[in-house]
Amino acid sequence: MIEIKKSKIKIKEVKRENENNQAGETGLNGVLAVKNLTRKFGANIVLDNISLTIEKGKTTVVIGPSGCGKTVLIKHLIVLLRPSSGEVYFKNKRIDNIGESELNEVRTRFGFLFQGGALFDSLDVFENIIFPIRQHCKITNWSEIEELVKAKLAMVGLDGFQNYYPANLSGGQRKRVALARAIALNPEVILYDEPTTGLDPIRADVINELILKLRRELGVTTVVVTHDMASAYKIADRIIMLHNSKIIADGSAEYIRNHPHPVVQQFINGQVSEDDLAVLRMSGTISKAQFLPRDFKK
C-alpha cells in the first residue's frame, strides 16, 4: 500500500473528529449518509426525499436511467452541490451546512473520479497527480514525490506517462490518470461518476478491475454511479436504483436481478418500454418524404 510518509511530507493538520463508526447523534450508521435529501433546479425536482447510508469498506453502486439524478446525488455526498432540503453526514458529522473552508478539510478525505476525468489540461500527468499533494502537504523531498507519483501511476497501469499532457491520452488513459490523482491523498472514500462510460468493453473492464483492486488494497469505501449493468454486477456489494427522483430498489446484486419492479427489470435487461414503442409506432413508417432527394444539391 502506498502511503504519504508523514515524517518527511508534513501533512497539514486536518481535524479528524469523531472517527468511530458508532451511531452518533444523528442515529445514522455508516461512513456516509444522506437524510431526506431533496434537490430542486428551478421547478424541477431531481432528488425527492432520498435517505441512504453508505457502509464503510463496501462498494455501493447507484444505477438508473440517464438524467435520473445519479450525478447530482454523488455530488451531494461531497457537497459539491448543496441540498435544497435534507442533510448530508460524513462519519456522523453533518457537512452540508458547514462553510467551504471547513468543507475543504473534509474533502481531502475523499477521492472523486469525474465522468470525463476533469484533468487539468494545462498541466501534465505528473503535475495533475501532485496537485492535491501540493495543495495540502509541504513537499520537502521531490525524489520521494516522484516515487509516489510513479507508484500511483503503476497502480493504474500508466507508469511512464508522467510527462504526457491530457490531450495526448485516450479516454481510458485519462480516466486512469484521474483515478491516480483521486487516490493521491489516500482517501477514505472514493466516488466514481460513470467510470466506464465512453470506453470500449475491455477498457471498461480494466476500470472495473481497478475499482476492485483499490477497494481490496486500500480498503476504501466506494460509491459508483453508473448505468453499465455489467460493471455494476461485477463490483457492487450493494446496488441502489434511482427512478423518478426516488430510490425504487436497494439491495445486493442478486436481489436487484430478481427484483419484481417492472422498471428495475426493464432497466437491468436494457429493454425498451411499451410507452417508447407506442411513440415509435405513432411516428409512422419511414417514408421517402423523410429523406432528402439524392439530387438535392444543385
Binding site: F110, F112, F114, G116, F120, Q135, H136, L185
Partner: protein
C-alpha cells in the same frame, strides 16, 4: 408585463448579489494569497500571460492614440496660432485619459476574454469542481493569481501606452508637422504634471482589478456548451468595457476633487 419586469428585477438583483459576493471573496482571497508561498509561481505564470504578452498590443494602441490626436488637433490649434501647445494637449490627454482607458479596453478584449474562455472551459469540463473536490478553494487557486497579475501589471502596461502615445504625438507633431522641437517639449513640461501621470497609473489598478474579476466571474458562471462559453466571453468584454468607463468617470471626479483641494486652478494655454 408587470410579472416579467418583476422576474427580471429579481434575477438582476440576484446576479448583482452573486457578483458582489464573488468580488469580495476574490479580493480577500487575493490579499490572503500573498502570504502563501504556493501562489507565487502561479502569479508569475499569469504575469507572463497577462502582462508580458500584452505589451505589444498596448504599445501599438498608445502610439496610434498619440499620432491620431496630433493629426486631429493640429489644424484647430494652428488656426489660433497655438500649434506649439500641441504637445500639452496630446500628452495630457494620453497620460490622464486616453492612454489608461484605451489600454484597459485592449486588455479587456485580450485578457478578459481569455480569462473567461479558459475558466469557462474549465467550468464546463468539471475542472473547477475537480479543484473543489480535492479540498482547494478554486478562487484561491484560479482567481487570486489572475487578479493579482492584472492588478499589478495593468499600471505598468499603462505606462507603456503613455510612453508610446507621447512618442507617437512627437513623431507626427514635430517630425511630420514641423512644430518647433524645443517649444513642443517646453509647453508639454509646463502643462503636464507628475499628478497627471500618477492619476492615469492609479486608474490602472482599478481597471486591472475590474477586468480580472469580471472575466473570472463570467468564466465561473458560464453555461454549458460552446455557445455558453462564447456568450460568457462576449458578456465579459461588454461588462468590462462599461465598468472601465464608469470607473474612469468616478475616478475623474474623485481625483479632480482631491486636486482642487490641494492645488490652485491651472490653465493649459496660459
Amino acid at each position: 408585463m408587470l410579472a416579467a419586469i418583476g422576474t427580471k428585477t429579481v434575477a438582476g438583483v440576484g446576479n448583482a448579489g452573486r457578483f458582489a459576493r464573488f468580488m469580495w471573496h476574490s479580493i480577500m482571497t487575493s490579499f490572503r494569497s500573498f502570504a502563501r508561498g504556493q501562489t507565487y509561481p502561479l502569479i508569475w505564470t499569469q504575469m507572463h500571460l497577462i502582462g508580458v504578452r500584452s505589451v505589444p498590443i498596448v504599445m501599438i494602441t498608445g502610439a496610434f492614440v498619440g499620432m491620431i490626436l496630433a493629426v486631429q488637433a493640429y489644424d484647430q490649434l494652428a488656426g489660433m496660432g497655438l500649434e506649439e501647445h500641441l504637445g500639452v494637449l496630446i500628452n495630457i490627454s494620453v497620460v490622464k485619459e486616453l492612454g489608461p482607458v484605451l489600454a484597459a479596453v485592449m486588455l479587456a478584449g485580450r485578457v478578459g476574454g481569455a480569462l473567461t474562455a479558459e475558466l469557462g472551459t474549465m467550468n464546463v469540463t468539471e475542472q473547477i469542481d475537480a479543484v473543489r473536490s480535492m479540498g482547494t478553494d478554486p478562487v484561491l487557486y484560479l482567481v487570486a493569481p489572475r487578479v493579482l497579475a492584472c492588478l499589478l501589471l495593468t499600471p505598468f502596461l499603462i505606462i507603456y501606452a503613455d510612453l508610446l502615445g507621447i512618442l507617437g504625438g512627437y513623431f507626427v507633431g514635430v517630425m511630420q508637422l514641423k512644430i518647433n522641437n524645443q517649444a513642443y517639449w517646453s509647453f508639454s513640461a509646463s502643462g503636464v504634471e507628475l499628478w497627471d501621470v500618477a492619476v492615469g497609473v492609479v486608474k490602472g489598478f482599478f481597471f486591472g482589478g475590474a477586468i480580472a474579476i469580471i472575466g473570472c466571474y463570467k468564466g465561473f458562471t458560464c453555461r454549458e456548451g460552446a455557445q455558453g462559453v462564447g456568450q460568457a466571453c462576449t458578456e465579459a468584454f461588454v461588462s468590462s468595457f462599461i465598468s472601465i468607463l464608469a470607473l474612469d468617470f468616478a475616478l475623474a471626479v474623485i481625483f479632480k476633487g482631491i486636486y482642487n483641494t490641494f492645488y490652485p486652478y491651472r490653465s493649459l494655454v496660459g
